[in-house]
């Protein structure tokens, strides 16, 4: 058994080396396929960051009547935090609201003077609420508009911005779902291209397989070296696709930053390089080995 296994590897390595051009072409096509696969990973990162950055901009604020006490607002904050849809709730007191207002209009003397002349603080305390998912703002707004809270609540920003929030939520969802579909379609295409390339490479070896069968080679010994060759092609293609990706990512990174502020794809690449390599290596090896395994099968009859 050990002898046969060692011979399978020996033949596989030898064929890989001796098939020259065929091996080179297979590795090149697999590299292209794995480049598609690795860029699908980067695309996934970019879309999720883009979606997160849109999501981050969405929140709703609830403004309380000026006669509502802080205790009552804090108790509403607590009840909101207990809702499953809510991710975070920030309390802004009337004093904080005034301070923020003054800070925002520090350069406008007319407004500053007008505010200073007032005896009382006209601004209302508020709660800023972020949902776990943009589609959940409607449910939170409904809770805030319920009759139990109507005596405290003056207004809810969602009611004014409902159409914008809903549209943003739809965009986030479309980006996420679209990203997954694009990834699946391209991964399948890349897989099919590789499978057909390996199928053609093995087709060119069909006579060789016939000879192996005639001299009494078992199915494992016929198939094994092709699987080893496919695995080697996949592993080398994985390495090449990472080496090719690095300078491209470095070059496009500044432009990407313009569209998605704070997005550093090259840094992401560097910090995840080991995991990325193993993902791509796994995909490459599985693709190479499985394609070879399946492609040889039709020649193993008789």
């Amino acid at each position: 058994m050990f002898t046969i296994i060692s011979r399978i590897f020996h033949f596989g390595f030898k064929n890989f080396w001796r098939n020259g051009w065929l091996t080179t072409v297979t590795v090149m096509i697999m590299t292209l396929a794995l480049l598609v696969f690795s860029w699908l990973i980067f695309f996934g990162v970019v879309t999720s960051r883009a979606a997160a950055s849109i999501e981050d901009k969405i929140d709703i604020s609830v403004y309380f009547n000026t006669n509502t006490s802080e205790d009552e607002i804090l108790s509403i904050q607590q009840s909101l935090e207990g809702l499953s849809q809510v991710q975070s709730v920030d309390y802004i007191s009337r004093d904080q609201a005034l301070a923020i207002f003054k800070q925002n209009h520090a350069g406008d003397t007319t407004i500053t003077q007008a505010v200073n002349e007032l005896d009382t603080n006209p601004l209302e305390a508020s709660l800023n609420i972020k949902a776990k998912n943009p589609s959940q703002y409607g449910a939170i707004a409904d809770y805030l508009n319920s009759s139990d809270l109507s005596q405290y609540v003056d207004s809810v920003s969602y009611t004014q911005n409902q159409s914008v929030i809903d549209r943003l939520a739809k965009i986030v969802k479309t980006v996420e779902v679209g990203g997954v579909i694009v990834m699946i379609v391209f991964a399948l295409l890349a897989g099919l291209v590789v499978f057909n390339t390996i199928r053609l490479a093995i087709y060119s070896s069909r006579e060789e397989i016939g000879v192996m069968r005639v001299v009494g080679a078992s199915n494992a010994l016929v198939r094994g070296p092709f699987v080893v060759e496919g695995t080697l092609c996949g592993a080398i293609a994985a390495l090449l696709s990472l080496i090719i990706s690095a300078p491209i990512l470095f070059a496009i990174n500044p432009y990407l930053n313009i569209f998605i502020p704070g997005m550093d794809l090259f840094q992401y690449f560097l910090s995840h390089i080991v995991a990325l390599f193993f993902y791509i290596l796994f995909f490459g090896i599985v693709l190479g080995a499985a394609s070879s395994f399946v492609a040889v099968r039709r020649y193993l009859k008789n």
Binding site: T3, N19, R213, V214, V215, G216, S218, N219, L221, N302
Partner: protein, 228 residues
Amino acid sequence: MIVFQGVSKKFNSGDQTALEDVTFEVDPGEFVSLAGRSGAGKSTIIKLLIGEDKPTKGRVFFGQYEVNKLHDKELPAFRRHIGVVFQDFRLLPTKSAYENVAFALEVAGRPQREIEELVPQVLDMVGLADKMKNFPNELSGGERQRVAIARAMIHRPEVVIADEPTGNLDPFHTFEIVKLLEKINELGTTVLLATHDKEVINSLERRVITLDRGRIVRDEKKGKYILV
């Protein structure tokens, strides 16, 4: 040793008959020529014997094996009892002469030391001791066929089957190959030679089974090449 019992083989859903009720036996140590025109059924007999195809009717025996009942998985082990030589040599182009011959032992799981000892001996026997490292494309037709014969006999099979082994060779190399097959037979191996070469069959003066349109028309102990 080899028994064909009422074997028929039809192709294209029964439209074409390759063999019709063929019955014969080959004893151990015999040298038997299968003679006949192209399409007479010689290659079909060989394909059925090595399990590359199955008969439409009848049974094919090789030793204890009923070949027509063997499953795909059983064929490799069965084929290690037989050495086959083809007209087109069927050598592995990416392997040297040495590696092509060694391959037949490697697939049988024979130890490396035995392979290193046996392969040079057999290549020497077929006169290719100095061309062991050459690849098939660096050898002449006659040399390639000698490599194929060396590969066929390296694992000491009970029978060597040669399907038109001289079809691609000039007269000089043809007789070289025939002599080699006779030598193998003298060493005790049964030889089954399929050929349409009149000169080869007549020079052998051994048993000849003549086929015509899938039927056996003559089976003589010391036969000549006579077509109907």
